[in-house]
Structure formats: C-alpha cells, structure tokens
C-alpha cells in the first residue's frame, strides 16, 4: 500500500519503542547529564546513596501501583507509614527497656507494626467496596485518622532509645571490601585506622536487597499470576471483571491491604534506618511523590495500566533528579518544579501519542 512501507513500519517501531520506554531513556540521559555536570555524581558511593534515599518511596510507590492499576487511589500511605514507624518504635523501645532480649523486642515490634499497618488498608478496602465510598475520600479520611493517631502516639517527638541491634540491621551491607582485610559478608570488619575506614568499600545495602526481593515477588504476582490479571481486569473494566467471575469487592480489599502492607514496610524500614520512630507533617508529601512515580512509570489513573518495573524506573527518576540537582549545588526547591514538569510531560506523552505507547 505505502510506497515506503518498510521504512515506515520501522520508524513506527522505533517511535513506539521510545514512547513506551521514554522514562527509562530519560533516566539514562539524566544519569549521563549529571555525571558530566555534577561533581562526585558518578561513583559507587553516590549511586548507593541514591538507592538508599529512594527505598521508602520505592516501597510506597509499589503498593500504590496495585491500587492505581485497579483504578483507585490511596492517599493514606504516607501517614500509614508514619503510624507504623511510630508504633513499632514504641513497642521496641518499651520491650527493650523492660529487659527483653534485643532480638525479641525487635521481632515483636516489627511484626506487630506490620500487622497493625494492615488495618488501615482493610478499612479502606471495606469502605470502598462494601460501602461504595470513592477511593479518594475513603483514603483521605484514613489519611486524617492515621495522621492523628500517629501524632498522638509520638506526641510530636521522635521515639529514641531503641535496641542498638535495630540500627545495625538498618545500616548493614551485604558485603564489605577492605584492602587490608579483604572481603567479608555481612560482618563489618573492625578497622581502627581512619584511612582504612574511609577506604572500606560497602557493597549493596541489606535493606535494598530485601526490598528488591519483595518487589520481585510482587512484580511476579502482578504480571504472571491470576491475582495480577484480575487486578488489571478490574482496572480496565469493572463490569467485565464481574461478568468474568472475579470477586471484585474481595479482590479490591486485598489490593488496598497490599498497599497498606507496603506502607507498613516503609515505616518499618524507617525505624531500622534511623533507629528512631518519626512522624512529621512532611510525611504527607510522600504519597504524592509515590503517585507521581507510579504515573511517570506509565500507569494511568483511570486504571488498567502500569507495572512494578515502570514504577521502579519512575522512583529512580525522581531519586536521581533529587540527588543530581543537589550534587550540582542547586537549591532543593528546583526539584519540585522539575518533578512537576516531568509528571505533566509523562501524561502528555501518553495522551498525545497513544498509538505509540500502546500498540506494537
């Protein structure tokens, strides 16, 4: 039909590839740009810093991905994170103070924190499915409730005096390499000289590894299991999903519990990372950044579209941007403008080139 049929399809394919992977390409471009412009940007230590800085956001955004694919939204995750962070820190502190062994107090704090963290998600799910409250409203209400409870528990102060082991876990790396003592797994080599300590190479933080495992499991569930297919189906068209025999209310409750679970994990991660339980009003900007990451990663707020892999790229994009702007010495608030622009561009690409993004 077309005189230049071959080259046209090729061009189309190339464009379609760019359209689908623009976030990844943009991330690579940005990495190159910052490596050239910024000082000390390109290096194992800084990359490891970027990863460490985005871990909480990564967890929140992954949970949010499930919700957004199902066509909903969860605004409560930032404060659920704060709530779990404060609750488990209090339990750890009190058990530790009561003289329990560190392992028991840490385990009890973590598991009770995670379990309590599932409740907001369950309530959200029930409100949304059984009582037909719009997701935006239900989770906004939960936002207020979790915020108030967390604040009430910590009274606005950080919760300190946790078992010291908690910090060791949070700051652990998988492997250490010191020119003097060679490789060691998990155990940080005991060094006395300042120069040796500075030269110690720390490879992959333990928290990043654990999160990676968690993400791989849930990415597998989302893309390869029935549960994931149903999530996409509900987001695509609820009526069709019902006709296909999916128990939509029950499924949605599970989705909101997953989102809450990830938020709880993020809260627990904060406890281990900071060795403190912290809840501030700034926690509320987290869910907005999480939603931004999910959307940049290619999900649509209308539901039915998105992936964990895309979300990971979206999170890395935001993290790299933050870090890069900082390393270039720009004031922190430029990042708000940059993220705002990227977010809008992300959706515009989706809107203006739908055939590029969707079709092969």
């Amino acid at each position: 039909m077309f005189p230049f049929g071959m080259s046209r399809t090729k061009k189309r394919k190339a464009l379609s590839f760019i359209g689908r992977n623009w976030a990844l390409l943009f991330l690579i471009l940005m990495l190159m740009l910052f490596s050239i412009l910024g000082k000390h940007f390109f290096g194992l230590r800084n990359f490891s810093n970027i990863l460490l800085a985005v871990t909480t956001l990564l967890l929140l955004a992954s949970g949010e991905t499930f919700v957004i694919i199902s066509g909903g939204i969860d605004l409560s995750i930032g404060f659920v994170m704060g709530f779990v962070c404060v609750t488990s820190a209090i339990i750890m502190r009190d058990l530790h103070a009561a003289g329990f062994p560190q392992a028991i107090s840490i385990l009890a704090g973590s598991s009770i924190g995670i379990l309590l963290g599932l409740i907001p998600g369950f309530v959200n799910g029930v409100l949304i499915t059984k009582l037909r409250v719009p997701p935006f409203i239900a989770t906004l209400g939960m936002w207020g409730i979790a915020n108030g409870l967390a604040w009430r528990l910590c009274e606005g102060f950080p919760i300190a005096f946790l078992p010291p082991k908690a910090r060791d876990i949070g700051m652990a790396y998988i492997a250490y390499y010191s020119p003097k003592k060679g490789f060691s797994l998990f155990d940080r080599p005991v060094l006395t000289e300042r120069a040796d300590i500075l030269n110690l190479m720390k490879i992959i933080p333990l928290s990043v590894l654990l999160i990676a495992i968690l993400l791989v499991i849930f990415a597998f569930i989302l893309s390869k299991r029935k549960f994931g297919q149903h999530t996409y189906a509900i987001g695509g068209k609820v009526d069709a999903a019902i006709r296909a025999g999916v128990n939509v209310p029950w499924h949605l409750i599970k989705v909101y519990v997953i989102s809450s679970f990830f938020a709880a994990c993020a809260g627990l991660l904060l406890v281990f990372k900071l060795n403190m339980g912290i809840h501030t009003q700034y926690t509320s900007s987290y869910e907005l950044f999480a939603i931004a990451a999910v959307v940049i990663g290619g999900a649509s707020l209308m539901g039915g579209k998105g992936s964990i892999w895309g979300t990971v790229i979206g999170v890395l994009l935001i993290g790299t941007l933050n870090n890069g702007l900082m390393m270039m010495g720009l004031p922190i608030f430029y990042r708000y403008i940059a993220i705002g622009c990227i977010l809008i561009v992300a959706v515009l690409i989706d809107q203006l080139f739908p055939e590029l993004v969707y079709k092969e």
């Binding site: 239900a138 207020g144 203006l352």
Partner: protein, 356 residues
C-alpha cells in the same frame, strides 16, 4: 400510613440538612463545655481562622462540580502570597507610597495568580491530562517558584498599613461612647480599649463578598448551569452546545483566583509572605467541599454547603483549642466526619436528594 409519610418527611428534612444540624450541635457542645466559646470574639475568630479554607474550598467547589479536582490550590496560596509581599516590599524600598505599594502588590498577586489556573485549564481541557495529574504537577511548579521568589526565607518588612487592614474590623463600638467604621478610634484609655467591641473583621468582609458573588454566579447564572451540566455529563454538555473546553479553563482560573485571594488575605493577616503558607489547607478545602454535599464524580455541590463544611472544620478546630485538646485529634475527627458525610449520601440517596 399517614404517620409513615410524616416520619419520612422528617427524615428527609434531617438528612437534607444534616450538616447544618451537625454544625449547630457542634457549636452547642463547645459552648457548653468550653470557656467563652459562644462569644462575639470567639465566633469571629472561627470566621477568621476559616478564611483560607473558605476561599480555597469555594474555588474547589467549582472544579469539583465539573468532575475535576485542583490539588494546586494549597501551594498557590504561598505562590501568590510571596508575589504580593515581594512587590510590596520592592515598591516600598523604591520609595512608593504605602497605598500604591499595597494596591499594586495585591493586583500583581491576583493577576499572576490566574496564570497557574490558565495552565491547569489548558492542560486539562485541551491536552486531556487528568485533572489530578495536571494540578499535582502545578503544585510542584508553583511551590518551586514561590521558594525561588522568596529565596527560601519568609518575606518581612512589609508596609505597616498592611497590618491595620488585615487586623482591622468593619465596625468599632465602645458602648455609649464611640461608634466608628473601619477606623479604630484613637486616644482610648487602657480600660476603654479592653471594652472596645470590634465587629466583623475586614478580611471576613472581603471573603464574604467574593464568596457571595460566586455563589450567585454558580446558582443563578448560565455559567453556573453549564458548570453543573459539564459535571453531570460532559458529552451531553457538548451536544447541548456548551463550549466545554473554554468553560473548563474558566473554572480552573476561578479556582486559581480564589487561591490567590487566599494568598493575599494571608499576607494581610500575617504581614509576611511564606512559600508553604497554605499547603496544609488543601485537604481541608477538599474535605469541606465533600462534607458540603459535593460528589467527586461531579454534577453536585453548592457554595452554601461548602461554606457550612468549612465552618464545621473551623468550629471544630477552634473548639479543640478552646478545650485544650491537642490539635492532632482534629485530623482524626475530620477524617471520620469526611467518611461519615459520604456514607450518609450513600445510604440515604433518596433522603438527601430533593423531592422531585
């Protein structure tokens, strides 16, 4: 049979006005248990404290009725407030008179404040970006620019008259002696100052007038009807010959205008321009609109309902302070009221909607 009908009528009456009843109960509760809660000064304090939320929520009502949402309004308060303060300070330093500096600061803030709304509207209407994303992006951009304009520090050193406007009252009344409009009577003794009754803050007057005008526009004009029509069904509105895109742009500009006005009143009240000024008020505003009976799916909602929603939050906030209950309980309470409001709508759809 008859009894049943009457009961139904009463139920309809209660459910249709439950927020008003809730507000009344709330004020009665705090009046009984609080100290000096039901006094002219305290009730005016509730109005003053609700200024920002009231303005944001009124603009948000328009957007929510069209079925959209505007997340940028919170940081827009800081954006326009910083512009307002910056212009005032700069002009004053350049030697302009206070009146010139203040009025140009306010005009500049209100005009530049329309810009984000225009961009939001264009993105939503012309480029079909979902409102949540477009306005969320604008949130970041407005905040970033606000911080750049004020260099990350609050702008101080505003003209002195700003405070006398922002803290002024419409009427001053000293029982039996003085009765003055706008001008605070001078040369009063300490005792007289204590007895001086100040009635209706200037800021509240401005807020009430603007909200009144837009309530009229929404309820009584074609513009308002079209807003409801678009929220009800965009396709139907389009077929009915409404220029939906143009209309949506106007609606987002209205929301933006209200946010900038909130920024200006913030500057008048606090005599400073801060970038994160109204950021925490965004969610309060959305909550107020929803409590006021609007649906996030569009097509329903009124300014009167929104104002009552705002007052419910404001009365609660001041009441908790009055009872010395820590403010974090406000969040829990507001969260519960929000969910409750939607549940009432869900369970009594026949009751809350008007008899046809």
């Amino acid at each position: 049979m008859m009894d049943n009908k009457n009961l139904r009528k009463i139920l309809i009456g209660i459910a249709g006005r439950w927020i008003l009843i809730f507000l009344a109960l709330e004020i009665i509760f705090f009046s009984i248990f609080g100290t000096n809660y039901f006094s002219l000064r305290n009730l005016q304090n509730i109005l003053l404290a609700s200024t920002t939320v009231a303005l944001l929520a009124t603009g948000e009502t328009f957007v929510i009725i069209t079925g959209g949402i505007d997340l940028s309004v919170g940081f827009m308060v800081g954006f326009s407030g910083v512009i307002c303060a910056k212009v005032m300070v700069t002009l004053q330093a350049a030697g302009a008179s206070q009146a010139v500096a203040i009025s140009s600061g306010i005009i500049a803030a209100l005009l530049l404040g329309l810009l984000p709304g225009l961009v939001n509207g264009l993105l939503v209407a012309k480029l079909r970006v979902p409102p949540f994303i477009a306005t969320f992006g604008m949130l970041g951009i407005a905040y970033g620019f606000a911080e750049i304009i004020c260099n990350n520090v609050p702008i101080m050193g505003l003209p002195t008259s700003v405070g006398s406007i922002g803290h002024g009252y419409l009427v001053y009344w000293l029982p039996g002696k003085v009765f003055a409009f706008l001008q605070k009577p001078e040369n009063l003794t300490r005792l007289e100052l204590q007895n001086l009754v100040s009635i209706i803050p200037n800021v509240t007057v401005i807020t009430a007038i603007v909200i009144g005008i837009f309530a009229f526009i929404l309820a009584r004009t074609k513009f308002g009807q079209h807003t409801y029509a678009i929220g009800g069904s965009m396709d139907a509105a389009e077929r009915a010959g409404i220029n939906v895109k143009r209309h949506l742009i106007k609606v987002y500009m209205i929301s933006s205008f209200f946010a900038s006005l909130a920024g200006v009143t913030y500057v008048l009240r606090f005599i400073t321009g801060r970038a994160p000024a109204g950021s925490a008020r965004l969610l309060d505003a959305v909550v107020a609109v929803v409590i006021g009976g609007a649906s996030l799916y569009g097509g329903t909602g009124t300014i009167l309902g929104t104002v009552i929603g705002v007052l419910i939050i404001g009365a609660l906030e001041i009441g908790l302070v009055n009872l010395a209950i820590p403010t974090y309980n406000l969040y829990i309470a507001v969260g519960c009221i929000l969910i409750f409001a939607v549940l009432v709508d869900q369970f009594f759809p026949g009751l809350t909607r008007k008899e046809e």
